[in-house]
Subunit: 137 residues, 2 copies
Amino acid sequence: MKNFEVKAIGRVASPLTDLESAPRQADEGGPEAWLVFDEDMLEGLRSIRPGEEVLLVTWLDRASRDVLSVHPRGDPNRARQGVFSTRSPHRPNPIGLHQVEVTATDGCRLRVRSLEALDGTPIIDLKPILVSDVNRR
Amino acid sequence: MKNFEVKAIGRVASPLTDLESAPRQADEGGPEAWLVFDEDMLEGLRSIRPGEEVLLVTWLDRASRDVLSVHPRGDPNRARQGVFSTRSPHRPNPIGLHQVEVTATDGCRLRVRSLEALDGTPIIDLKPILVSDVNRR
């Protein structure tokens, strides 16, 4: 099997509504946002606590999927790079990875600090950060 | 839209062939493996160099997708946790994240050190590790 169905389990609610105003990377700052999960995901979220840093996985549904190389940061003066060496949203599977700090929880909603994803972006997974992720760096 | 089509862009080739022998986390060790990408992904891979640490994103196609809480590490003596607080493969979208070191490149194949994914696991993305990922930890 070559194709699989990924399902949105929630959405980003953010004041960021257009691509032009979105920062390119998390370290360039982003507004606070809510992660609004579907009600049937509550059981999966029950162990998340404020103060935790988590990995948010999104589906960047406004990206182009037929792009295999890009000029880094969209700058035509920089040499083209293969997309797998960049964090460009434009790639065969437009998966976004965002390290965020949970600042509050409210049922199926998680408040996070500084998220660079656009309003309405589908959420497809959430993972803890492992000690080994840090130690191996 | 609630569902999206994720496509396999390659497969893991590894001596790990059954779930019982697979380590639960990368820090518990895994064998060397090849990431075998589809030929039409070559352009996307052209900037990957041996020695780089990268984030491999897989689709854990043998996982259960209707699981929302688990006993950590499968130990029934440990309290159930929501899957989004664990790295269990069993979750609504069975996305695997693996930090790996590329040791060699050969066209559409990348050799990596210590990968805990099973032979045949679909590859869905590959991303560089950003400086900001490290600095924010």
